[in-house]
Subunit: 516 residues, 2 copies
């Protein structure tokens, strides 16, 4: 089912990786003091003589994605047996306090960045063949002959990214804290920019449509690697699932291939991502070529509408992503997302002069918008509800606003109101927070948007984040829905939005710039 023509176009646009040599900047010792982790500078690793059981922790100063090289030497007699090493790479210091062996969560433990390996020849240069995402590396000597000790004479990372630091647009933030937040968000995007926009360089390292939308938006304000967005759009278009449905994510290796995961929202986001790309580049040729693929997603979503013009709810786990919240009913969010996608589709049809389609889409948009307000609005609670249990959630309100089912002051009031509804399902990921901030900005709640951003992403900043995380619960920072932070992704694409928001909507003098 691959479209080879589109695939070739995509593959030709894939960026080269830039390699940067990064030295370990210090040797550290880590320990727990009550519940907080204390990181102290320790004797330089080059001066350590490592025996059986020795551990030494290298700090690379910032989050890195790349390949580790260790120059190994010895003291004592000529090495007469291999050296058996364990390496544990950690994006976040907290991972070093977990034991991979005891991890029992549902995400595959093969993602834990631990290796055991044998070095047959010393002195030698050990270049690990796998790519890791890390700031810290704990080196442990599992066993070594008593005839010699190991010395790590040099340790460096060959960091890789397709983002070029020198191409990062300048940005003057309102204050130091926001500058820091922007910097962390840029680093997050930078380290997710590999051959494609990966969701996370530690885990899953895949091109997901939901992450791509946010990465692309942030990219236009930062690294401006627009051909890379184009490549990803062509990849998705080239690799459809059955009936032309857009897959939720793609694999690049060993061959470009679509996953078998489909999600209502992620399929539709292709349309918005295509539109955003056009807005950023005015590349009408791409818009034209990929328009049929985009339109097909509308057709497929339409099939899921019931007679009331509502997106039919589903019991299938993950039929529509929205947020990592298993209690969340997705119906209202899906309705809002369909409106959001239809709105982008209408604008594409306008630009392409496809009047017939534009009219048809506009009619569909109105019907679905009306249905949303007729059947999913709870007059008593004064908010949108979702599913047959009439669940209230922040997500439902956010997506109805982004889909413009509700506008202006009514939308502002809605966002404020939902905060006061205690039973409303909360947001749990930076991904959903991103859409929430977007909704606040859309309805002009700029100050609140900044406050919320400072409280949420600023919370990670305060906890020492080098890059923004896949998951963050301000009430429980070490929470992991996977059964252990050791598999958490601490550099996750869908968290890079602050750089987009700050650069697009906020400047140093506080003025609103470049708003739609």
């Amino acid at each position: 089912m691959k479209n080879q023509k589109l695939l070739n176009k995509a593959l030709n646009l894939l960026p080269d990786l830039v390699e940067t040599k990064v030295d370990a900047v210090q040797t550290v010792e880590l320990y727990k003091n009550d519940n907080s982790i204390v990181i102290e500078q320790a004797v330089d690793y080059r001066k350590r003589v490592l025996k059986k059981g020795s551990r030494v922790c290298l700090d690379f100063g910032n989050h890195q994605v790349g390949y580790l090289t260790l120059n190994l030497n010895y003291r004592g007699s000529h090495p007469d047996a291999p050296v058996w090493l364990k390496l544990h790479f950690a994006e976040n210091a907290t991972e070093l306090f977990e034991d991979g062996k005891s991890y029992q969560g549902w995400i595959c433990s093969s993602w834990i960045e631990e290796e055991q390996l044998h070095v047959d020849v010393v002195p030698s240069q050990l270049r690990l063949p796998r790519r890791y995402a890390f700031r810290y590396v704990m080196i442990e000597v599992l066993d070594i002959s008593s005839k010699f000790d190991l010395v790590v004479e040099d340790a460096f990372c060959t960091a890789v990214s397709s983002a070029k630091d020198q191409e990062l647009s300048a940005f003057k933030a309102q204050n130091h804290k926001l500058a820091k937040m922007d910097q962390i968000a840029c680093r997050t995007l930078h380290n997710c920019m590999q051959q494609v926009f990966e969701d996370g360089p530690k885990r899953d390292r895949r091109l997901w449509m939901g992450d791509l939308r946010i990465q692309a938006l942030t990219n236009y304000e930062t690294y401006n690697n627009n051909d890379m967005v184009k490549a990803c759009l062509y990849l998705f278009a080239a690799l459809p699932m059955e009936k032309g449905r857009m897959g939720a994510c793609l694999f690049l290796s060993p061959e470009p291939e679509v996953d078998d995961t489909q999600m209502f929202d992620y399929s539709l986001f292709f349309i918005n991502t295509l539109w955003d790309y056009y807005e950023a580049t005015k590349d009408k040729e791409t818009l034209q070529e990929l328009w049929p693929v985009a339109l097909r997603q509308i057709e497929l979503a339409e099939e899921q509408l019931d007679e009331k013009m509502l997106v039919g709810d589903s019991d299938v786990l993950g039929w529509c992503f929205v947020d990592w919240n298993l209690n969340l009913n997705k119906q209202a969010s899906a309705q809002g997302i369909f409106l959001y996608a239809l709105s982008a589709a209408i604008r594409i049809a306008q630009v392409l002069g496809d009047v017939m389609t534009e009219e048809k889409l506009a009619e569909l948009y109105c019907e679905c918008r009306n249905a949303a307000n007729l059947y999913l609005w709870d007059g008593e609670k004064q908010c949108y509800i979702s599913g047959k249990e009439r669940q209230v959630s922040v997500a439902s309100q956010v997506w109805m606003i982004l889909g413009e089912a509700i506008e202006d002051q009514a939308a502002v009031n809605l966002l404020r109101r939902v905060e006061t509804i205690s039973e409303a399902e909360k947001m749990v990921t930076p991904y959903m927070y991103h859409n929430y901030i977007a909704a606040l900005l859309l309805v002009g709640e700029k100050k609140m948007a900044l406050q919320k951003m400072e409280a949420y992403w600023g919370g990670m900043t305060d906890l020492g984040a080098d890059t923004f995380w896949e998951l963050y619960n301000p009430e429980n920072p070490s929470e992991s829905p996977y059964g252990g932070t050791i598999v958490n992704s601490y550099c996750h694409a869908w968290s890079c939005g602050p750089a987009y928001f700050l650069r697009k909507y906020f400047t140093a003098d506080g003025s609103l710039k470049g708003e739609k």
Copy 2:
């Protein structure tokens, strides 16, 4: 202290490795029934679908030394996480019943042929970069995503050796059992013949003088790779320890270098190995060039003589190897070995026409021989004793005979007598057994030599050996002096002697052939 001229000569003579593709011949299941291991054919590995916790054991039909390649594929959804594998290579099935984690012996556990590794891309060809010595490979899936299962579509070993099978001299044994013994001995030598004659391809993979002497002798009767012996002699000569002392072993990587282990006997064996080489090749040029190095070993050994012309005993552990028996006193063996080396040196001097040296060595030989018979012979026990405790051991008698301190019927009687002395320290390694067989053959006890060989190496054959072992105690076949058979070496150079003895001394018609 390297002699670069000799080193260059050595390096130029090092052989190329021959690569042979060996497929896994069957899939097996192993279990214990009482104390014996049952190996049964199981469902072919290619037909197995491997999930988390699955184990599959490949049998390569014979002992192999080389590199494993696995062609991996999957069933189910596209792999969405790395596959985490554990591989355990085993020369002998018994190793598979030991757990590397619980090994607490004194030999470095880094020799255990276990790997944990992550495979990022499937389908893929996994070629492990390290060399292993094995017949069996247990593949265990430590973890895998629930979205797919692993399939091993092909498994093969790229076996390496510098011995060429087609150059193995033909040999017709007296019976099937001896033919089998010869075949196992040849395989043992074959798999130890790499760039140099290694002591064991699993562990330690080094060029040891004590092993080289036996390997070279066996090589002349089998693969006839005489340049390889020459290369090893030049390596030892090129890489002396201080004062020109011959090291006990050498390392090849990363640079040729001598170890800091010195042993009285191993230094002297250079002389015998040089003489044996000359006898096999008549290469007088090499004999001439290496003669000063050989002679230097005599001079250094002479320094260790006391006023009685006895090799001074020492409390230093391993000052003289002789055998892996910590109770063994080495003095008498060392005296015998000195005579054995002097005897070879005298013959070299004769060939080279170095009359002055020949006379001096002959005089020294007589003095040491007389001292042995005057001070180390116990008139009451009618055997040689060793050390101030006047210890009786098989080793002492064997080396006095090989050093020709005692000859003819007296020597025959001595070997028979020592068997009846219950407190005599026994032999514990095939290495010492080799010298015992040599002594029996030297004194004409051909039948007994064959019987002893059949009992000892035949015992390993009966236990299913593919190659002969580093250690074998007929009374406790699973004994390991290291604290676990998991680090035992089941293909060990010093055990390859049967091919030498059988081919040199025994033919199919039972006649004595080519005896010195």
